[in-house]
Symmetry: D2
Subunit: 417 residues, 4 copies
């Protein structure tokens, strides 16, 4: 079994390697191939990976190459961790919208749109190579914005893939913990889009305990809990960017505020220094502060479900395909699927609860326009997408904002200049 890590020079790679080590028995990788455009990082990460596997005493061959097509030869799974534009682009995504009084975030709002516009062409190019070199391989995507990437891959990729996000699993586990409930005895209905998902119903031992779960989650949120009580559903934490956008923007105006990208850039520099240490044979403590905890678990679970034909329920980013009413068949959604050897099969959901329906539909329209803008390289569609975004108040704001965002991205988006 060969696993290729696209963007293998990522600071997340040791997290994945750690996960592979823990699941080796069920998922015995023969070759782990790292590929990246950054030769230095690739070298560092390949070294640490080798040391980690050696320490674990596992017979995994670690290879590395800058040649993506060669990397893909014979691949069974391809795992994407790429970040087009790196932390600098992310900092733009987070800083520029704030100037206009709009949430600056890596995956949500105008920042997420820019990340999508930079990333979709790279992911479709990868898919193109996979179609030719390893058409039966599975792409296990973790690159953000994961939902939008999933829609692009689903409509234009022509490959087998699973779009992931560790968020829903982690948040659901936390909710159940707050309820004192055993996950094996609980059933949580989850629906929405990536970073726009909702736990709409929580059952424990077949009893509806949604109200209690909402109360517990509301208190956990550190914001006025009344809204969640009224909503009657538990949003992903990213929803604070919508429901409490004023607070989020205010916070960024506090003195000393640094964006997440700015913080991570610093952490990553230190991480890479540590990774390069030939004595290091495990993921360092500092990696926790990088975020993305639980990520390897979700990625490995998907690969296991495919490889062992488990038919296991997992919340993934999949094309709707008629599972949710009021959204097109070819729109991606974040939804419970049965994952097996033939992929992720959405469980029929039905109509969205009315209180969250409009927001999900509005953001979906923005996402689909963004995919179209990226695929066609169209500034016009990009503007339609931005104007369709619920966080954008008006044309008067959107017009200069898009100008500035595209200008800042001209190195990574050819049609932006």
């Amino acid at each position: 079994m060969k696993l290729v890590v696209f963007g293998g020079g990522s600071s997340y790679t040791p997290e994945l390697v750690d996960g592979l080590i823990r699941c080796y028995e069920e998922l015995p990788v023969d070759e782990l191939c790292l590929t990246d455009t950054n030769a230095t990082r690739l070298e560092v990460l390949a070294g640490l990976t080798r040391r980690m596997l050696a320490k674990a005493g596992l017979p995994v061959r670690v290879t590395m190459t800058a040649d993506r097509r060669r990397a893909l030869e014979g691949a069974d799974f391809v795992h994407s961790l790429i970040r087009v534009g790196g932390m600098d682009a992310r900092i733009n995504d987070e800083r520029i919208p704030l100037k206009y009084g709009i949430v600056g975030q890596e995956t949500t709002g105008p920042g997420g749109m820019m990340k999508a516009l930079r990333t979709i062409p790279a992911m479709l190019a990868l898919a193109g190579d996979m179609r030719e070199v390893c058409p039966e391989a599975w792409l296990i995507n973790y690159t953000n914005p994961s939902g939008i990437i999933a829609e692009a891959l689903g409509r234009y990729g022509g490959i087998r893939f699973i779009g992931l996000c560790s968020g829903p699993k982690g948040w659901i586990e936390r909710i159940l913990q707050l309820l004192g409930a055993d996950p094996a005895r609980a059933n949580v209905d989850w629906i929405g889009l990536n970073h726009l998902g909702f736990a709409t119903r929580v059952y424990v031992d077949g009893q509806d305990r949604t109200a209690e779960a909402v109360e517990a989650a509301a208190k956990e949120w550190n914001i006025d809990p009344d809204w969640m009580r009224i909503l009657g559903a538990i949003p992903s934490t990213y929803l604070a960017n919508y429901y409490h956008r004023g607070l989020v923007v205010e916070k960024s105006r506090e003195p000393g505020f640094r964006t997440r990208g700015e913080q991570v850039k610093e952490i990553e520099a230190e991480l890479l220094r540590q990774y390069a240490d030939p004595e290091l044979v495990q993921k360092p403590e500092l990696l926790r502060r990088r975020g993305g905890g639980g990520y390897a678990e979700v990625a490995v679970a998907a690969m296991l479900a495919i490889r062992h034909n488990k038919g296991e329920r997992q919340i993934v980013q999949a094309l709707n395909g008629g599972a949710v009413d009021g959204l097109p068949e070819d729109a991606s959604v974040e939804i419970s699927c049965v994952v097996d050897r033939t992929g992720a099969h959405p469980i029929r959901y039905g109509p969205l609860p009315l209180a969250i329906r409009g927001l999900i539909q509005a953001v979906k329209a923005y996402e689909s326009l963004t995919v179209q803008a990226a695929v066609e390289g169209s500034r016009r569609l990009a503007m339609q997408a931005l104007m369709a975004h619920p966080l954008i108040p008006s044309w008067e704001v959107a017009k200069p904002l898009l100008e500035e965002l595209l200008a800042a991205n001209r190195h990574w988006i050819p049609w932006a200049s």
Copy 2:
């Protein structure tokens, strides 16, 4: 043939009477019955109505009564012009949101929501009386917010009705005029919700002239025309409240700004003085400044299409019933229908254009929540509705805003206090 005017003391009544006079041959009303809760206005309007009909030499019997059920006896058509709370409530609708930096408007945004919450119970009470007293009569509704009222009537009314708005017809005629096109040779695709409609395609002699039409409409709009060019569709003018909300709010902060309700209140006072003049035998010139031009034409056209089984295409507020994808069957939409003796039958539209889809779906969710809030008398649903509205930025704004709006409406909404 008996036509009942519910809210017959409205300042619009002479507009309707004028329309009836012009179409008398096709629509020979035997009895025109005015009913209103305001006895003084009822008296004044009945007097003017009689004089206008007398001058026209038409044998129409004009009756009036405060007893609605008696008014409905033997009715063929019931026409609603009621305004619950009158101009004072409207001024609240327009003034209060502005304090929070939000568009204040009679039918759009938080103001429209309040109008709906005040009006839906009155319309459903009327429907209840009609079911019992004149179950075969048609309600021709002009009371705003017309789309939300249509949804409430369609889901809970149990009567025959047509929901009207003169906006689309007037705006389409203006667009065609700008193109120099004969309406009889043009085809315009119109879709959306009430006061949230769009001309998505314009054909003249079978040729697609949408781009030209967009250009002409954009210039007519008196706002930066670039957005409409990019959008590629012609929004109803009410859409300025969404796409250019900042400008709209700014304008209201100019010194000397008066809301439309404040202006109309003054005009209405003068109108009523003129109406009371026993010499007046036609609608006065001042009525034009009251607005609603073209209203009688649309109302009469609907009655004619029904009475003469015309099978004529008209843009009305109807339950979707599967005509538009991505919206529920029981949601009201503003759509081309074939209107005949058995009612308004939507012409299948299909999927909404992506650039306008999200906004329409988001506003629809708000509207449906508003209907539910009104029917159940639920403050919780009212808050869900307000938070679902695309013009509301956050919970932190919505919470005090709803408090203030409900407090101001406690005379008209029993559960508001």
Copy 3:
């Protein structure tokens, strides 16, 4: 205005010419161009056409050519009357199924399937020429099986077209006549497939008179009226082939039975002799016995609705496009449409009545398989189509039947041999 008649040597042509003469004021044809592969018939029909128009004193130029592409140059409307295989193929269609105890009919059952397999390639070839030579022209199709042809054109034709059948209009008029009702005051819901349509509801002056209408139609049918009473809807007369198939087959076993094709072949021979008479200047009395009465009226009505942008309701063969639940978007249905300068727009119908739903869906599946079989030239799909047909009892019957049908059609269906 130029009108091309594809299959202009048809014995129906004088019917069309007669219709054109009657509507000349509204539809002033400049050139009427007849094209046909049969030079003799073309000559005869062109002659009669010229004499009829001359007698009417109308300045219509009558042209004829065997070169279809040349005929199409400058065309506004193209009218198809072709019959691939002529009466001999029809007689096969009617005779062969009877040997297997199955209804033999020109458009229904295995016969109709053969007619579709012969005709679809010819119609798609015509469409191909139209796309290149006269892409803005409208094809007004009357060639049977009209519904299946409409589906093939709608999915693969890439041209503007209206699929017609005079049946529903004629049958509805007859039903209303039986009720003593004025068509202008009646509303009849009609739905189904071509030659498989149903009047599901009959209103007169807004009152539901379906039960009376069913009773009247049942008596008219000359078969045990109980079934129609129980069904509660009025089927097209072709439905006798399904509901009373045994009687239909029995009748064909009576001594002296001749199929309709055999009768028509004889009538046509005589018709052509009469047509050739240089004294003949109008359609002869005998043409009535040929059938297709009312056909010109329906064809002219469609052309008028397009040309004059009437927005008139007409029952035509159109792609479903979501108008009827339970059938695919790209399946053709026989449905009320609004016909204007931009084509036929289905009025949303909703779910099919349960009592007729299954039969319509089953026949639709057969029809769609037939289209696929014709387009792919696939014997396998043809067998799937035949087995999907509700009149086919089993594989043991279908297998030899298809063999024999294909053998008899090997001159007209290349892949049949």
Copy 4:
């Protein structure tokens, strides 16, 4: 845990008891309560059940009562094995249609319709009692026609239930065995209605091996394999009643033919004699010849999936709920569901393959009409149902057939006489 067996006097009961014994560890039943209207059989079966459990050394309390409501008190699971009218009614179902040249079968065709009409009222009465006495209990239904019963329960039952049939699992296992494939490594797409299901796609280790599977199944079928090859899908064996109906009817005309009901009646008499033997402590060998093998396994699997919240994929009879296109939301289908503590959740399937779509839709319409006929007690709807059935050739056959069927069922169907 309390399990109630409704129809506990069934000859199948020992099969269920045997399954419970084998799964006792996972499904530790405390009380097994048998209820039946036939006191003698109840006594016999309770005795054998006690002896079987005693022999297995399991501490299960076996109770019995003719009072259904008492039986339901405290129930966790209710299992239905009832057969309204017993074997005599079944023999009628199988014999009468044959007189008219139509397949006589317990669940398919006119026989199945009669069984549904007899059984639905009894099942809805059971559901009514469950709603009151044990609203949280699950009905695990095995009573045929299982799909039609599921639709009746889903629309009118108001209880939690799972509709079962052991057919799909058994047939799929056989197909995989023929392929030499390990079920754990295979994925089989199954869709349709009860006794009208199809394996539409067979994957082994992620490779599409449908063609091979079709070939293997075709040979297994003992009928001309060509049809299945052409169809390209593997039908349930019950489909022989449709695709090869002539052969099935012929077979029944062979000398010495006995219907399955006639055979089973004899076997059951002998079985009951054996069951009464106080020495018998296990299910007798003869039970195999009774049929229904694998039944306990499927029933126990459903109970385990619910009790242990497994989220396991099982093929069950469930309301469609939008999982399959072209069928109503409230129609039952035989479909892969995820079964957990909150019930059976259909996995979205999408459109039916065209080659099988029409038949499934036609039979579904018949089934839904049958449910309506049973619920309303309507002879008219019963006739519409029969006429909608694809095995019924015409009104001329259906009319006397329904008369005779209803007459034969007048003891069990109140409105039949």
